[in-house]
């Protein structure tokens, strides 16, 4: 098979798509897919790749792949994929779960995305999520698209309350022992995400040197500025040291070393 940036390459050969209302009931079937993970732990990878070079983006994928060797829980992020004008992959944070899942047994890669625009079929029936060519990420096991009714649109943070509730339910009802978040780069939405997980006292890991909102939050912590994240569940790891992240994940029970 000729694999392109549009090819479904997860182990089941299909990406299950679910649609949920932002204020509606929780998506039971989507949430159950997570229980197929070998380990009952879940990590949300939040952030973006703005101002990053092509090489930076590739290095980011390798950073996570090295840190997460042996991880076998749920890897959870935004659900989108971007292509270049030539139809090649433009790597983003949302490619991390699928990339790492291909290298480790037992991972379930899940994504969520808000409906920010009208969906359409384009070209060879490509499912496009907005006016910028954004697609569902074909490396995920399942994707949840969150909308506010059939006509309204949401901002890019429209899925955040839903995915936080989902993580809470995994923890409260499905026996997930640990849930947490790793933040890379990102803007205002990412900041809202890492503040939300830190407020819940979940392990919240900021990657130093990744850029923008994540680095701003680290500077605030270091400078002891008003509003800085606090608590012994908030961690900072440098992007040059994936093994430090790995050790942190081991120490917090996300990676089991037997």
């Amino acid at each position: 098979m000729n694999i392109t940036a549009q090819t479904v390459i997860n182990k089941s050969g299909k990406v299950d798509l679910f649609v949920s209302e932002s204020s509606g009931v929780l998506p039971a079937n989507y949430m159950l897919v997570a229980t197929k993970a070998k380990s009952k732990v879940a990590l949300r990878i939040a952030g973006g790749c703005k101002n990053m070079s092509e090489q930076d983006k590739l290095d980011m994928l390798d950073f996570f792949a090295t840190a997460l060797i042996g991880y076998s829980g749920v890897l959870f992020s935004g659900a989108t994929r971007q292509l270049t004008a030539d139809g090649l992959l433009d790597p983003m944070v949302t490619d991390v779960p699928g990339y790492v899942a291909q290298k480790n047994d037992g991972i379930i890669a899940l994504g969520t995305a808000p409906r920010t625009d009208a969906w359409s079929l384009q070209g060879e029936s490509a499912f496009i999520l907005d006016g910028y060519g954004t697609r569902p990420n074909p490396t995920m096991d399942a994707i949840l698209l969150v909308q506010d009714g059939p006509d309204a649109t949401l901002d890019w943070d429209g899925d955040v309350p839903v995915y936080l509730k989902i993580m809470e339910s995994w923890r409260s009802y499905a026996g997930f022992e640990h849930v947490g978040l790793i933040s890379w780069n990102g803007g205002a939405v990412t900041e809202a995400e890492f503040r939300a997980t830190a407020n819940r006292k979940w392990p919240t890991i900021l990657i130093q040197g990744s850029g923008r909102a994540t680095d701003d939050a680290i500077q605030a912590i270091v400078g002891e500025l008003p509003g800085a994240l606090q608590g012994d569940h908030v961690y900072v790891v440098d992007k040059s040291d994936p093994l430090a992240l790995r050790q942190l994940l081991i120490d917090n029970g996300f990676i089991l070393i037997i």
Binding site: D16, V25, L26, P27, A28, N29, Y30, M31, L32, V33, T35, K36, I166, S169, W170, S172, Y173, A174, G175
Partner: protein, 281 residues
């Protein structure tokens, strides 16, 4: 002060609703197997009831999956500590002997429920000599109703069990089994629905009524290879469960009834059986 009645964790839902949290709660079971116990045995004697309890308890020894059942207990109106025998006592006994399994009761709200200082949560309090309460020995139960103003009917129980089972089978690769014993028209509908879906069904022959009718219906069995029949004895019941992949890690036993001079010390035997299986891997 009175002794507080035990009421397990409870959910309430309308027919047609999907509950993520109920489904997720089942996934804490050690093994991805869900068994629905259906049927009836109204008005049976204490002796018959004990025989039925022993049959199920021994057949399911070592079970670590999920069980769905009616979720209720009938107690005497005169003395709340006197339990009226019934098939809904079967699953809590299995749970008691197999703490690794998870038990969900699905209770249709067929009339208004109420709280009572003696009985706690009362499901049904019509003019019978007994009162129906949530069974205290289950992990949690869900009350199903059509709406606040509209009660459920008895079909809603098995239909909700069907929905939960379908979700686990479809989205997280669980194995399922419907076990029918005795029962009337509602049980018949459940047997026919699950058989038509192609999911595994086990008819325990010898308890009477609809289950026995279908166990003897060769045309029905030939048309549904997913439906198996076992006899009402521990050996055949347990061996069939093992063959159907419900008791993971155990192997079929040919000598169950001769252990301990004909009287089974099942706990010892199961340990032997399990260890032998593991050593053969």
């Amino acid at each position: 002060m009175f002794d507080s009645p035990v009421v397990p964790k409870s959910f309430f839902m309308n027919v047609g609703e999907n509950s993520a949290n109920i489904a997720l709660s089942l996934t804490v079971a050690k093994e991805k197997v869900i068994v629905r116990i259906t049927g009836g045995c109204g008005y049976m004697s204490v002796e018959d009831a004990n025989g039925l309890y022993d049959l199920y308890s021994q057949a399911f020894s070592g079970f670590n999956g999920v069980m769905l059942f009616g979720g209720t207990r009938m107690v005497s109106r005169i003395d709340r500590n006197t339990v009226i025998p019934g098939i809904t006592e079967v699953v809590p006994r299995i749970k008691h002997e197999n703490p690794g399994c998870v038990v969900l009761g699905v209770v249709p709200r067929t009339e208004d429920v109420k709280l009572d200082t003696t009985y706690g949560f009362i499901i049904s309090d019509d003019n019978n000599p007994w009162i129906t309460i949530p069974h205290p020995d289950q992990d949690f139960f869900v009350i199903v109703q059509r709406s606040v103003d509209q009660s459920a009917d008895w079909n809603d129980e098995w239909q909700e069990c069907y929905n939960v089972t379908k979700r686990l089978r479809t989205y997280c690769d669980w194995t399922s089994l419907l076990i029918a014993y005795n029962g009337g028209g509602v049980t018949e509908k459940e047997i026919l629905t699950i058989a038509a879906a192609g999911w595994p069904v086990l008819l325990v022959n010898g308890g009477g009524r609809k289950t026995d009718e279908y166990a003897a219906n060769e045309e029905f069995l030939a048309a549904h290879p997913n439906v198996r029949v076992c006899e009402k004895n521990v050996r055949d019941f347990r061996n069939t469960l093992i063959e159907m992949g419900i008791l993971l890690g155990f192997r079929k036993s040919l000598n169950l009834q001769v252990v301990n001079g004909g009287k089974i010390n099942l706990r010892e035997y199961i340990n032997y059986e399990h260890n032998s299986t593991n050593s053969n891997k």
